[in-house]
Structures are given as structure tokens and as C-alpha cells.
């Protein structure tokens, strides 16, 4: 047998394909990492009638795709997928396995890592290769207030689940070719101890302000109720929620449940767009776990502007309108 080349595997998570591109993002990152350790990028696809996804993964960077196709694999199953994955991992010995940190990825991968008796890092926001050729996995802790870099020095494969949206996918390449390995499913499928009684696709659940990853927050500096309404449009375009300061709620530009910064009204978005907010202490206490802050205010000395990553000195209402226009140009649907 020819000498095994090293390989980096990406678990093909194709459910919610159009909203969730994490598998493609991981194929892209795996391609960069593979160059550094001279490895081949492979994808796995478990399911039934999955040719479409196999083609997609090849077009997005997979040199090889391991396919398990069977009517019994139509629905995602932790028990069955772990057993199948264990089998092919033991056969082909990948160096690294990357899985999107979707609900399924975060349920399936821990059991797989345990079955393989190897290390696993959760919900990574960074992946790299160090001088020794190890996968360096950057994972958040304490609500993202700290980042931890983690390696798996000896056990193999090195495994990570990765947060969707961290990496950019490679553009679709129709000319790309890849090898398809149909994994023989001898005999019965592994047993599933969890019975699926029903499964219905839901519209995305309404986000609560406190958990929303994107928040657009407005203060008195928006000027009027009419202009404040533009924030709802901006939030819709960004896929976020609207928050408000106390004066705005008193003025009835926004409902009470949009209030940010009183007891228990804390938000911790990954990104906050703050418009015409001065930054009173009650408000800033409620946003201290925010990731990236973009603040707009005419007054460059407002407290909110000092704690922002990007402080825009301008009229909040005008910037809001310009931002909506520019985003609509850029976001392709």
C-alpha cells in the first residue's frame, strides 16, 4: 500500500446549508492549514442522496470526500454517525478533524472524541499550526472575555469544533476535481438508541435582546421617534435586535422591553452599533460584555465613544441611513 499522506478532515454538516456555511468555511481554513503540514483536505458526508453536497465540498476545496449513503442515514443521528465516523477514522487515520460548532456538531463531536480517546477543543475562534506542526486551537472562555490556546500534543486525531462565521469560504470552483470514496456499509447500520419521533424545521426562533449576537442601540441623539425607527430597519438588515436607553423609552420611541442597562437588562452581543448614546453608567454597565463596539455621536467626548472600537463623530441619524444603504448594496441575498 502506498504510504499514507497526512490528511485534515472536515465533517460535512449540510443541514441548513444555505444559512450555515460552516463546513465550507472549514474547508477553506483546512486548505491553509494543510499547506503547512503537507496534508490533503478531505470531507465526510453521511446521509441519503447526498451527491449535491459531495459536489459542493469538492468545489469548495475538498480533494477527497468519504461518503456513506444509505436511506437509514437520512436524519442526523449521534449514535450512528459516531459509529461510522469511528470506523473510517480508524481505517484512514486523519491527523486533524474539524467540525462546525452547530447544535449537532457540539453534540456529536464530544462523543466521537471520547470514543477515539483523543482531545477536543470546543467552539474555536482560531486555528493555526505551530512550529512543531501541532494544531493550535483558540477557544473562548468566560463569555469570550478570555481566549485560550490549546493543543493536543500526542493523541490523534487532533479535534476541534469551530464557531460558524470565523473563516471565509473559498469561492465555488466548478473546475475543481476530487476523489470520491464510497464507504461500504456492510450489513446493518449501527444501532441508534435515540428514537426520532418528529422533526420539523422552524423559522429561526425570535432572538431575545439579551442573547442577540448583533444589537443596534439608540439613544436620545437619534433626534426623533421617526429617525429612531430607522434603527429597526438597520437591525433587520444586520440580523440583529434593537436596544434603547432609558430616556428613549421614557419618550416612547421604543418599548420598555428594549431597555438596556437596568438591573438584569444586560446584553452581550458580538457586535454593538450604538447611535446617539451618551454612555451613562447604568447603560454602560449593561453592555460590558460586548465584543466589537461601533459608536456614533456628534460629541467625540461622550463616554460611549471612549469605550468604542470605532468611534464615528457625526450625526447618528444620518450615519444610520448611510449604513442601511451601504449594507443593502453589500449583502447579497
Amino acid at each position: 500500500m502506498a504510504q499514507k499522506r497526512r490528511s485534515i478532515w472536515v465533517f460535512g454538516d449540510y443541514r441548513n446549508y444555505f444559512q450555515n456555511r460552516v463546513t465550507l468555511q472549514l474547508l477553506s481554513r483546512a486548505t491553509d492549514l494543510a499547506e503547512k503540514i503537507d496534508a490533503e483536505v478531505c470531507a465526510t458526508v453521511f446521509g441519503h442522496e447526498v451527491d449535491e453536497w459531495v459536489g459542493e465540498y469538492i468545489a469548495h476545496g475538498a480533494a477527497k470526500v468519504y461518503v456513506c449513503d444509505n436511506p437509514g442515514l437520512k436524519f442526523y443521528s449521534t449514535d450512528i454517525y459516531v459509529a461510522l465516523m469511528e470506523r473510517i477514522v480508524r481505517q484512514y487515520g486523519p491527523e486533524i478533524i474539524l467540525v462546525g460548532a452547530t447544535s449537532f456538531g457540539r453534540e456529536f463531536t464530544p462523543r466521537l472524541a471520547k470514543r477515539l480517546k483523543t482531545g477536543l477543543t470546543a467552539d474555536c475562534v482560531g486555528l493555526d499550526i505551530d512550529d512543531a506542526g501541532l494544531l493550535v486551537q483558540t477557544a473562548p472562555a468566560f463569555g469570550g472575555n478570555l481566549l485560550t490556546r490549546i493543543v493536543t500534543p500526542e493523541k490523534r486525531p487532533q479535534m476541534a469544533t469551530v464557531r460558524p462565521g470565523v473563516f471565509q469560504e473559498i469561492p465555488h470552483n466548478y473546475q475543481a476535481t476530487g476523489e470520491i470514496v464510497n464507504v461500504p456499509l456492510s450489513g446493518d447500520l449501527p444501532k441508534d438508541r435515540v428514537r426520532l419521533i418528529s422533526s420539523e424545521r422552524q423559522a429561526s426562533r425570535e432572538q431575545k435582546l439579551g442573547e442577540a449576537p448583533v444589537v443596534v442601540c439608540g439613544g436620545r441623539g437619534m433626534g426623533s421617534k421617526t429617525r429612531f425607527k430607522n434603527l429597526f430597519e438597520l437591525a433587520r438588515v444586520l440580523g440583529g435586535e434593537v436596544g434603547a436607553t432609558r430616556p428613549v423609552v421614557y419618550a416612547k420611541w421604543a418599548d420598555e422591553d428594549a431597555l438596556v442597562g437596568q438591573a438584569d437588562r444586560h446584553i452581550s452581543p458580538k457586535v454593538l452599533f450604538s447611535f446617539g448614546v451618551s454612555g451613562a453608567i447604568q447603560h454602560t454597565a449593561g453592555i460590558k460584555n460586548t465584543g466589537f463596539i461601533i459608536a456614533v455621536n456628534k460629541n467625540p467626548n461622550a463616554a460611549m465613544m471612549k469605550m468604542a472600537d470605532v468611534a464615528i463623530v457625526a450625526d447618528a441619524g444620518q450615519v444610520c441611513t448611510a449604513l442601511i444603504r451601504e449594507l443593502k448594496k453589500r449583502i447579497r441575498t
Binding site: 447544535s103 453534540e107 477543543t121 478570555l146 485560550t148 424545521r201 464615528i312
Partner: protein
């Protein structure tokens, strides 16, 4: 009788913690501890099942001696029995070593369980891995992030949302669930209940030797992963100031930050060519 185990963890109450730069682990003794919020929801789910069907709840934790507090709190809330797994040798355990150690303790001290409940994730390390890995180690089925559950005979019926799919699932006992936050609102312990719980005699505490485990099987030595370093990403705010006409500012904002903002809102914001 339904025999339940609720696995819980004590987590630091503050979010800005000192850490040991040499070992890369958090110096947990510097912070006040509390019961991890998701573990409270798991305990509440167990109490709900006990009220409906009768049953017995063992609250267990692995951690330093001070973590005993959360077991006493669990007693005050309605747990029947506690098990504390504590040993300096167990420090620095990753999820592989933690789930291994918990499984051995369960096999010895509560082998005839029907259901294990864990919180869906902890507020400190946030891996959400220990629950599923404990189930794997015990070779029982598991369902993560459950929002509703009930029992009929030995069958658990569960509802949860997984990647935008509303699922109804069943599994037979013995099994393990991790409980999502927000669906089983935790009750409060009464002051008298807490006082009684803290007056109770010692809690059953077991170490590596009691579990028949060598040093190399637990803690950092039994772990597959190593922490390289821990750092704070928050300290690096640059406070970039943009000025000028709104339209120009917005263009500049996207020129400089399209990748940053795009990844945060999960949309591709690269200018259309």
C-alpha cells in the same frame, strides 16, 4: 423509583479572573464560587421529575473542597444525597479526564442510576462536552440541550430545538440529558433550608485512590489537551476615530472593517466587484 444523578460544577462568580501564566490555568481560589447557572436548570428538571414521579436525586461534583458549597445548596433545593469527587491530583483535567473520572465514581457509588442530568454548558470553560462524553464513557445514550422532558415507564420523551429543527425524541433509561437554560426556572433555596443543609454532617468525599485510579489517569496527566496560554482579547481596544460626511465615513468603515463586521454578523460584506 427513578434514580437520578445531577452532575454540577462550581464556577467563579466574576468574569475577570486572574490566571496562572505558568500552568495556564485559572487561579480559581481567588474568586467567589457559585453553582453554574445551567447546572441549576438541570437540578430543577430533576426536581420536577421527582415531584411528578417520585424519585431520588444524587447531586455530584468534581472540584476543589470549596465546591462542597454547591452540593449543600443542592440539598437545600431538594437533592437527597451528595457525592463529592475531590483530589489535588484531579486538577487541570480536560473534558476527557473529567468525564472518565465522573464515570468511575458513578460506577462505584451510584451504579443503578436511571437518568443523569447535566447543565448544557458551564459559564467558565463553556465546552458543553462533559455531558456527552460522560454518556459515551458509561456507554449510555444522551440527548443535549433538552428544553422539555417527561417519563413514561422507562422511556424518556424529550423536546428540544437543534439547528432550527424542533425535535421530539425518545430514549430508554438509563440515559443522560444535558438541560438547556431558560426552560426549567430554578427555584430559590429558603434561608432555613440553606442553614440546615450547611449544618448537615460531612459530605461523602472520594479521591483518586477511592476510585482505584492512578495519577496518570486523572487531572492534567489524564488529559489529552494542553493549554498553551490564556489571554484577554478585550484589552486591545484601539478606539479608532472616524470623522467627516456620513456617506464617506460609512465607506471608510467598510473598507477597513468589512472582514471584522462581516464575521461578527455572519455575512459577507466584501464590496461587490
Amino acid at each position: 423509583m427513578l434514580k437520578m444523578i445531577v452532575c454540577m460544577k462550581q464556577v467563579p462568580m466574576v468574569s475577570d479572573l486572574p490566571w496562572d501564566p505558568v500552568t495556564g490555568t485559572l487561579t480559581r481560589d481567588a474568586a467567589e464560587g457559585m453553582m453554574n447557572p445551567a447546572c441549576k436548570h438541570a437540578l430543577e428538571a430533576a426536581l420536577m421529575l421527582k415531584e411528578r414521579h417520585g424519585g431520588h436525586i444524587t447531586a455530584m461534583t468534581m472540584g476543589p473542597p470549596m465546591a462542597e458549597e454547591i452540593l449543600r445548596e443542592a440539598i437545600a433545593l431538594g437533592a437527597d444525597r451528595c457525592l463529592m469527587v475531590s483530589d489535588p491530583k484531579m486538577a487541570g483535567a480536560d473534558t476527557l479526564a473529567t468525564s472518565f473520572t465522573l464515570a468511575r465514581a458513578i460506577e462505584i457509588f451510584c451504579p443503578d442510576f436511571d437518568l443523569i442530568l447535566c447543565g448544557c454548558h458551564t459559564s467558565d470553560s463553556e465546552t458543553a462536552q462533559v455531558g456527552p462524553q460522560l454518556a459515551e464513557e458509561l456507554d449510555i445514550p444522551s440527548i443535549a440541550a433538552v428544553e422539555d422532558l417527561d417519563l413514561r415507564g422507562n422511556t424518556l420523551r424529550i423536546k428540544r430545538v437543534s439547528d432550527n429543527f424542533l425535535e421530539t425524541l425518545e430514549m430508554d433509561t438509563p440515559g443522560l440529558v444535558t438541560v438547556a437554560t431558560g426552560f426549567f426556572m430554578p427555584r430559590y433555596a429558603s434561608m432555613a433550608g440553606l442553614q440546615d443543609a450547611f449544618r448537615e454532617p460531612g459530605i461523602l468525599t472520594v479521591g483518586a485512590r477511592d476510585l482505584g485510579l492512578g495519577e496518570d489517569a486523572v487531572g492534567l496527566q489524564g488529559s489529552a489537551t494542553r493549554i498553551v496560554d490564556i489571554f484577554s482579547p478585550v484589552a486591545k481596544k484601539e478606539n479608532i476615530v472616524l470623522k467627516g460626511a456620513p456617506k464617506k465615513i460609512v465607506e471608510e468603515l467598510f473598507e477597513r472593517f468589512d472582514d471584522t463586521i462581516g464575521s461578527l454578523i455572519r455575512k459577507d460584506l466584501k464590496a461587490v466587484e
